[in-house]
């Protein structure tokens, strides 16, 4: 029902925008048959919360696009189906989008499993397939796959090194690390990457702890973390798990010296326990990300809608940022080729780069990923995330704080 309302709202806004032409300063109102772009998202099921963020980002992009004249002079219609967080349903629904609903173009779904299931469908019908959340994008075998992720071909190799480099830059790098990981595929992959990076950099690995997804009680994990008392705690967690771990540590009066969280909940920054916590970042509603007009407008609009939809952390993050960038990439290719032909779009993307809210993107890396890991590192300072790495992308005045 919530979905229905949202769809309705989306359609209303869309038709309103179409009818009024919104702002006369903008381009000509699009006309003609709408271009239909289809996507499935996990609007229900275990990944529903993230699916919702992706949906909001997609809607914002499409509305802005239509306000600005649509694509090829035609309005764009966003067709979103609910895959219930199940890869087999996602696969079936891409089949439906392409063969029954006859959409013109597709966007990838959310989540590694759904993406891999959907990609085989895209491959079969020779549709350009842009995804933005594939855990290991280099595994994609499809030649018209393009990754809107910013971690480069293998961020499990590059991100941990980035983190260690950043700490090394403070002059007193951690001598040992305790790795804590959620039993969630992309978290596990990153945790293993950290293990390898630590060994390569001569950092002793004190332990490798894993907990189940949906773990109810973090007291046990916290007790182990305190017992190990490592220089650096690398936590490959999902969302709220990181906050739960911090709280459990607080209850036994422990706070880690240095700590990293892979996918922290949005609200973590506001938690005093999370002071000096580090994470990776692609897009936030702070400088430098909102310095462009489109980035700023997107961040503002996303925050407003997330608030309205009742998301507990109504702020844009790299999930939403990647999704938006994915749409920017598709739209740019359509405009540049002046065509809806998947072959032309793919050939263009193969050779060109696109300016997105997350920076300039090309697909020269393995399996059409970005050639380098473009992720930044951010840190909680005074209750807010600030960017601290690489040095040239820092939030003005910020630098990594470590003991």
């Amino acid at each position: 029902m919530a979905l229905g309302k949202r769809l309705l709202r989306c359609n209303l806004l869309l038709s309103l925008a179409l009818a009024l032409g919104i702002s006369p300063a903008l381009a000509q109102a699009p006309s003609g048959q709408p271009i239909r772009i289809g996507q499935t998202l996990s609007l229900t099921g275990p990944f529903a919360q993230t699916g919702l963020a992706h949906q909001i980002a997609s809607q914002i992009f499409v509305e802005r696009l239509n306000r600005n004249g649509g694509l090829l002079g035609r309005p764009v219609e966003y067709v979103v189906l609910d895959d219930q967080s199940k890869p087999d349903i996602s696969r079936t629904l891409y089949e439906r989008l392409i063969t029954a609903d006859h959409v013109d173009l597709i966007q990838g779904p959310y989540g590694t499993a759904a993406i891999l299931a959907a990609m085989s469908v895209a491959q079969r019908y020779h549709k350009v397939f842009i995804e933005n959340t594939l855990g290991q994008p280099a595994l994609a075998k499809y030649e018209w796959h393009f990754s809107a992720t910013i971690g480069g071909p293998d961020s499990t190799a590059t991100l941990p090194v980035k983190v260690l480099d950043a700490y090394a830059s403070t002059g007193h790098p951690p001598k040992n690390v305790l790795i804590v990981s959620s039993k969630f595929p992309s978290a596990e992959d990153m945790a293993h990457g950290m293990e390898r990076a630590a060994k390569a950099h001569g950092v002793e690995v004190l332990g490798y702890l894993e907990y189940d997804v949906g773990n109810r009680d973090f007291s046990g994990v916290a007790a182990r973390v305190k017992d190990a008392n490592a220089d650096f705690v690398f936590v490959a967690c999902l969302g709220v798990e990181g906050d739960q771990l911090l709280e459990a540590e607080k209850r036994i009066d422990y706070s880690p010296k240095r700590h990293f969280y892979l996918y922290p909940s949005g609200s973590m920054a506001g938690d005093s326990l999370a002071d000096r916590a580090v994470s990776y970042s692609g897009f936030e509603d702070v400088e430098p990300y909102i310095s462009t007009e489109e980035g700023g407008a997107f961040a503002k609009e996303f925050d407003a809608r997330a608030q309205k939809a009742g998301l507990p952390y109504p702020h844009v993050d790299s999930q939403a940022g990647n999704e938006y960038a994915g749409w920017q990439i598709l739209a740019a290719a359509v405009k540049a080729t002046n065509s809806l032909d998947d072959k032309k779009i793919a050939e263009w993307l193969d050779k060109n780069s696109v300016e997105t809210i997350e920076g300039k993107r090309d697909f020269s890396g393995r399996s059409h990923t970005s050639a380098v890991d473009m992720q930044q590192l951010k840190q909680v300072q005074n209750g807010k995330w600030v960017t601290i790495w690489p040095l040239d992308r820092r939030t003005p005045g910020a630098q990594l704080i470590a003991p």
């Binding site: 919360q49 739960q244 009066d253």
Partner: protein, 285 residues
């Protein structure tokens, strides 16, 4: 795995015992309705989580303190329990059918929770959430300890009630042999309504503590099912003290597994214990 220090073991024991309190609290109502009413109520977890959401919502949106919220929830759930039992009596529902119906009910509650409060995680942040009492080098989290005390008090009171009062003995007699108990003039219907209401009220109590201690998401309904069923079986059906002791046993086993092996092996513990107990039933079950 790594070397396990003594203080880690001690801290884990405390953690396990206190976790067992919450398990016991959830198991209490389930054990009573299964043992004495012969109804396997999967909806128990759903309303416990509903109670948790209500506690959180009243606290954050309306500013109602958790104990007042708890009182309202307990009263409302008591009425719900009576209504539920009316349906079961009206349609003469068997044990297996009760399992299915209450599963379907739990799915409906899950959908409703998601509709009202999205699938995102919710946390009820209170001042006591991260506080502990310190005893030597050990830490006793305040909220978990209070939950444990409440579990002990409820389990003991329920046990005494079943054992020493007329109503309690009558209930046990009905569970053994309803027709004979009826022949002795025990009003089985009225008593079973009372018990069903009580079980639902216990779910409400558990819900308040889940809100304060755990993280809320609609799908968390299923996170408790396995471990609490194990507790119910270990504690013996219909035995309130057993439910508490089973909870502590499982809690301690899990905590020690987390300390000595790896936290991700912990879920295996309760199920392995359950399977072993069912296969090689020791005397006390």
């Amino acid at each position: 795995m790594a070397h396990v220090s003594l203080s880690l073991i001690e801290q884990s024991l405390i953690t396990g015992i206190l976790a067992g309190g919450l398990y016991g609290l959830l198991a209490l109502g389930l054990s009573l309705s299964w043992g004495l009413l012969r109804l396997v109520n999967l909806g128990h977890f759903a309303i416990a989580l509903l109670g948790a959401y209500l506690t959180w919502w009243m606290g954050t949106a309306l500013g109602i303190a958790p104990w007042w919220a708890g009182l309202m929830i307990i009263a409302a759930f008591f009425v719900y329990g009576i209504g539920l039992h009316w349906v079961f009596m009206r349609f003469a529902v068997t044990e297996m059918a009760s399992m299915l119906i209450t599963f379907a009910f739990a799915v409906i509650v899950e959908s409703a929770l998601q509709f009202l409060w999205t699938a995102d995680f919710r946390r009820y942040e209170t001042a006591w959430g991260t506080q502990s009492w310190v005893i030597g080098s050990l830490y006793v989290p305040k909220l978990s300890f209070i939950a444990f005390l409440v579990a002990c008090a409820l389990a003991a009171a329920t046990w005494a009630w079943l054992r020493y009062t007329y109503v309690g003995r009558a209930l046990r007699a009905c569970a053994e042999d309803a027709p004979i108990a009826t022949a002795y003039g025990i009003n089985h219907r009225a008593l079973s309504f009372l018990l069903s209401g009580l079980c639902a009220a216990y779910a409400g109590v558990a819900g308040v503590f889940i809100a304060l201690i755990a993280t809320l998401a609609p799908s968390q309904i299923w996170a408790w099912v396995g471990v609490v069923f194990a507790v119910v079986i270990i504690g013996r059906l219909g035995n309130p003290l057993g439910a508490l002791m089973g909870g502590v046993l499982i809690g301690v086993c899990e905590a020690l597994t987390m300390a000595a092996v790896n936290p991700s092996w912990a879920p295996l513990v309760s199920f392995s214990v359950l399977i072993a107990l069912l296969l090689f039933r020791p005397r006390w079950i």
